[in-house]
């Protein structure tokens, strides 16, 4: 049996009124891949990601996530994925432990599971002494690492990360990517957006979205070759400058 792609889309489309935010995108992601989902501001990344997470219904087209249909099986999808939204996704006025318990509760994990995993997580993040601190008081980089740990807490098959490292310091940004690598090594598929072009290099494959469409999809090396570019920055520049759409 050949393995099914863990993310599969065919002409997936989202319209808001007359405006087509995501325009018939078709692509596949394999299990265990680190897939970079790039594009200029307004290209449609967040909109597409929300459909893949079962948070917003497509206007048309097909998509399955871990084999589940984005129209009919959104509950199944939510159980099998983790999601870190572009805005911060933890409760600032709850403590670290309360946040973990809250999210683990959603997924119906047992108390024993939650207890073990919480201890393990706090240790990994060097936060053993700080479990009762309010999340709002943590520096951004640490919040993002915590949000990632929480997003993979219930051991999902895929984790969707919408600009997880925006504004994070250069050392913590690398620690974050280390966590991504570890999760990928453990078999979790990573679907990530970023505006840092050095991070594009850390992905197995990347797609670049322009005006709602996927204009290019390949390995970083493959893209640099196709576009005859020395850096990913160059590739991005060549593609993203093509954007033309408007409301009119």
């Amino acid at each position: 049996m050949t393995e099914q792609p863990i993310i599969y889309t065919e002409h997936l489309t989202k319209r808001f009124g007359d405006f087509t935010a995501v325009d018939a995108i078709s692509f596949e992601v394999q299990k265990g891949e680190i897939f970079g989902f790039l594009g200029a501001n307004g290209a449609g990344k967040t909109t597409a990601m929300r459909m893949l997470c079962g948070l917003s219904l497509p206007t048309s087209g097909k998509a399955t996530i871990a084999g589940f249909d984005v129209y009919k099986q959104t509950e199944k999808i939510k159980q099998n994925i983790g999601y870190m939204s572009q805005k911060f996704s933890l409760y600032e006025d709850l403590t670290i432990k309360e946040n973990i318990r809250f999210y683990a509760g959603i997924y119906g994990k047992s108390d024993a599971f939650i207890k073990d995993k919480t201890a393990q997580l706090l240790q990994q993040l060097n936060l053993e002494a700080e479990g009762d601190k309010l999340v709002g008081s943590l520096p951004l980089g640490l919040k993002q690492k915590l949000a990632f740990s929480v997003a993979v807490f219930h051991e999902p098959q895929i984790v969707f990360l919408d600009e997880p490292t925006g504004g994070v310091d250069p050392v913590t940004r690398r620690e974050f990517w280390n966590m991504i690598y570890e999760a990928a090594t453990a078999g979790i598929t990573i679907f990530v957006t970023t505006h840092y072009m050095d991070e594009a290099e850390y992905c197995n494959r990347i797609s670049i979205m322009v005006d709602g469409k996927i204009e290019a999809l390949d390995t970083p090396a493959g893209l640099k070759e196709t576009y005859n570019a020395a850096t990913m920055d160059d590739v991005f520049l060549q593609l993203a400058r093509k954007a033309t759409r408007s409301d009119a």
Binding site: N41, G42, E163, G167, P170
Partner: protein, 308 residues
């Protein structure tokens, strides 16, 4: 007279029982017409400094002047002559793009047409969406609109707090071109950013972490003060390569840097030694070459030392 003069500025916050020392005695000067960058991650204290300089927050001690006016005594004067783009929540989400811009023009008793040339380059990029509610713009589109709103009254000093966070790589370039244009027109600009590559586009920068300025200077000065050799290394298995490098006692530090890893070498060790070491660990085919440090390398080096 400097456009902005900051002396020993201090700001603390209480969070439960804990005291957060957000700004711990920061001093710097910005000359008229200068493009000055405060480079540091979220939480470094950049926003507190900006809020004190724009009179929205009182310092606990120390002081500052902006265009000759004192930030505590002359707050009304300052509010008239500065432009401020806060990092977040500066737009009315339920007003359209156009309405937001007109609103900001009106509170400063000017009009959009009067200063349109100042914002034109960036506004044309969001103008196709001018009847859309700000709340429905993408993250980066919101940033562009917020900048236009901060500029529309032609301020003497412009404070931009992380204007490019969440902005895509192409727009960031355009944004910085625009900042340099504004500087040509005599506007002094203080800009904060977590993007290290933007530091090299400033006249001078302060590198900041945890409430303190680690160093101030022109981008060249900061790079020249980096006193180690850096080798860039690449191989098939980048993850394995990094592990092997980290175990080597000839290095100060090794970390990923886009397509390559950057390796900070201890004194007296060079490319030849590295080639031997990598050959002995199964990376004979590694591509190794010397590189000049970037601001990101300098920042990481300074950060590590503060940790010690």
């Amino acid at each position: 007279m400097s456009a902005v003069a900051v002396h020993n500025l201090v700001k603390q916050y209480k969070s439960g029982k804990a005291i957060i020392e957000a700004v711990q005695g920061v001093s710097f000067d910005v000359a008229r017409g200068e493009l000055f960058g405060i480079i540091g991650p979220d939480g470094a204290g950049k926003t507190s400094i900006f809020r004190m300089l724009t009179t929205l927050l009182l310092p606990d001690s120390g002081g500052a002047t902006v265009d000759g006016s004192d930030i505590v005594k002359d707050y009304q004067a300052i509010r008239q002559k500065v432009g401020y783009m806060p990092g977040r929540f500066s737009l009315y989400q339920d007003l359209t793009v156009e309405e937001n811009l007109h609103f900001f023009a009106t509170i400063f008793k000017t009009s959009v047409t009067e200063n349109y040339t100042l914002i034109k380059d960036i506004y044309v990029q969001i103008e196709p969406f001018k009847t859309r509610k700000a709340g429905k713009l993408s993250g980066g589109m919101k940033q562009k609109l917020a900048l236009c709103c901060a500029l529309i009254h032609k301020p003497v000093v412009l404070f931009l707090d992380e204007p490019t966070t969440g902005v895509d790589a192409v727009s960031r370039k355009e944004f910085w071109d625009m900042l340099r244009n504004l500087r040509q027109q005599g506007i002094t600009i203080l800009v904060s950013t977590p993007y290290m590559d933007e530091a090299s586009l400033c006249d001078r920068v302060a590198l900041m972490q945890k409430g303190k300025i680690m160093t101030t200077g022109t981008p060249q000065q900061i790079i020249q003060s980096f006193n180690h050799n850096i080798l860039a290394v690449k191989a098939q298995n980048m993850y394995g390569l990094l592990q092997v490098l980290k175990q080597w006692n000839a290095i100060e530090d090794a970390y990923s840097f886009g397509e390559y890893h950057h390796v900070i070498m201890k004194e007296r060790y060079d490319k030849k030694v590295m080639r031997q070491y990598l050959a002995s660990t199964g990376y004979a085919d590694a591509d190794i070459h010397a590189v000049t440090p970037t601001i990101e390398d300098c920042f990481m080096q300074l950060m590590q030392h503060k940790h010690d």
